[in-house]
Amino acid sequence: MKSFGGPVLFLNRSDINTDEIIPAKYLTAVSKDDLKPHLLEDLKLDGFEPSSIANKGFRVIVSQANFGCGSSREHAPWALEVNQITMVIAESYARIFRQNMFNGGMMAIELPASDIDSLFALSKSGAVSCTVKLESGKLCFSVDGHETKTISFSLSPFDEALVKAGGWVEYADARY
């Protein structure tokens, strides 16, 4: 199973699409590692600098609704994965992106808009970090090292099985 949690990157917009997560011109990569420097490089968002991904060691993304819309490219979750961002928290996802995350043993966690709003409010007071308690379904958020907020989450049984199996290939190969 992958490890989850760490410093949080906040992307305050809905409909962040897969072309923004990884532009198509990098889809000729035949190694996931080649995607690493290009994560979110075309995203135009106030306060966001693509260079911060490498500099600040983000491990979690928090965003708004319909995250990952557009193309089916699994290069989007891979670009996150090679940057050690194994978890996204958002109000909702595009279906294919969400499935791609769990298929790779990563997590695309859905939270109600009120919880997402409270996390964005938290981000205004300092650097936010998140720890994950998978068994109890808790996300614990700290600001500048001080634990300030705990939010419950749940995965569907299938998504949880994929996370624990390390992905869909392992799961399906053992079963079908």
Partner: protein, 443 residues
């Protein structure tokens, strides 16, 4: 309680239900292209599982960057090519016979009513036009599809879009689907199949139904679907006539058994009256940002692109050529036409359509996805604007810093003449929509 077509297809293909709400389906067709498949192939090799579940049910094409533009794209093509040869995949389309996946696979008759289809490509929903369940998936789902012939989905819900009215002049399938996306919004159909039904869909050709279903993903839909009928049967007839021993009625009966029941349950039902639709284009960077072309004044363009899995079929080229005929591209505007398959290219050549485009100053390229996703054959420079018949207007989609306005082939052709976004109605003769002998009424 009745069932939708998608529920019937799911029931007929249910392989496993490991958890409530998770349906593992057996697959009839697994389609592959050179962008998303190579990493699946490499992972299977790495896992020492370099096998395919069925060489006949796997179809493969090199289409996104072809001919290869650099070492990287050549390597992707080579990985797919070597794999197809290694496993004896006979339906593999390489340079000389290759075309845009969602145009060439239907043209070959690979998709039938009631089928389950996946591909590592979001516009796989196109094939729902045949009354199939066809979904775009990521590389991991594709990898498992190749290896095991299965894919997992959440239980489907369906949005029914009832399309009524009579199509006004200048309004085409592309305008209809853009209007539907505007109403549903870019995530209004997430985790839903969009069932396109009603008299307007029933009267549409397969080309038009494919244009409609192609963009279901732009509303977030898992797929789009149309009821298979005599139009479907006639399109597929060359491929199924032996199987049906020339019994057209039996083929139709087999196809229509998939129809949604009258008492099927829908999550949402909406009605769209096409009589209220006018020619439209997208503005901004989301496909649900749609405006009437007549209200878009003085939006200058640098390029016209006619092609793609949405609108690169022969009927699209015919409509565009009807407007382009005898004209020239406006000064400073580049025109690119990419017929979506070799057969379409050849027919367009034989029918003189390519001459019409070339006389107007267009460049005719080989069939490829290329420019639509900013890979090759028509990438935009920063600040440039394209009137495009493609499907996605995301920021940077056709090239970093470029602006894409999505529209019908008629609207794109008219915009090329005017040098700015233009309602096509001023460039068409009056008469029935879809007739091709158009004549410009003004210049």
């Amino acid at each position: 309680m009745g069932k939708t077509i998608t529920e019937k297809i799911f029931d007929a293909h249910l392989r496993d239900e490991p958890f409530a709400g998770t349906r593992v389906l057996s697959l009839d067709v697994v389609m592959c292209h050179e962008i998303t498949t190579p990493l699946a192939i490499m992972d299977l090799v790495w896992r020492k599982k370099d096998r395919v579940f069925d060489t006949n049910r796997i179809k493969a094409v090199i289409d996104h960057v072809t001919p290869s533009k650099d070492t990287e794209s050549a390597t992707q093509a080579k990985i797919l090519r070597d794999w197809a040869h290694r496993h004896g995949i006979k339906d593999f389309f390489d340079i000389g016979s290759n075309g845009v996946c969602h145009a060439i696979f239907p043209e070959k008759g690979f998709i039938r009513p009631g089928f389950t289809v996946i591909m590592g490509d979001s516009h796989t929903c196109t094939h729902g036009a045949f009354g199939a369940f066809a979904a775009g998936v990521g590389t991991t789902d594709l990898e498992v599809g190749i290896l095991k012939g299965v894919c997992a989905f959440r239980a489907p819900k369906t949005i029914r879009v009832n399309v009524t009215g009579s199509m006004p002049q200048g309004v085409f399938a592309k305008d209809v689907i853009l209007e539907i996306i505007r109403r549903l919004t870019v995530n209004g159909a997430t985790d839903h199949v969009i069932e396109f039904a009603g008299p307007v869909i029933a009267a549409m050709t397969m080309d038009e139904r494919m244009t409609i279903c192609n963009m279901a993903i732009e509303a977030g839909g898992t797929s789009g679907v149309c009821m298979p009928d005599a139009v479907t049967r006639d399109f597929l007839w060359p491929f199924v006539k032996d199987e049906y021993r020339n019994d057209t009625a039996q083929a139709l009966a087999d196809f229509t058994k998939w129809h949604s029941d009258a008492d099927a349950v829908y999550a949402i039902s909406v009605t769209v009256d096409v009589a209220e639709i006018e020619p439209v284009a997208t503005v901004g960077y989301k496909p649900d940002q749609v405006k009437k072309l007549k209200d878009l004044k003085d939006v200058k363009i640098d390029q016209v692109y006619i092609g793609s899995c949405t609108n690169g079929r022969l009927s699209d080229l015919t409509i565009a050529a009807g407007i382009v005929k005898g004209t020239k591209l406006a000064p400073g505007v580049r025109g690119i036409v990419s017929p979506a398959t070799p057969n379409i290219f050849r027919a367009a050549m034989e029918q003189g359509l390519l001459d019409i485009f070339m006389d107007a100053g267009y460049c005719v390229t080989n069939p490829t996805c290329g420019a639509c996703l900013g890979m090759s054959n028509g990438v935009l420079a920063e600040g440039e604007v394209c009137a495009s018949t493609t499907n996605r207007n995301f920021f940077g989609r056709m090239g970093k810093g470029g602006m894409v306005h999505l529209m019908s082939p008629a609207s794109a052709a008219a915009s090329g003449i005017a040098g700015k976004l233009t309602d096509p109605r001023g460039y068409m003769s009056t008469g029935k929509t879809g007739e091709h002998g158009t004549k410009r009424s003004k210049r």
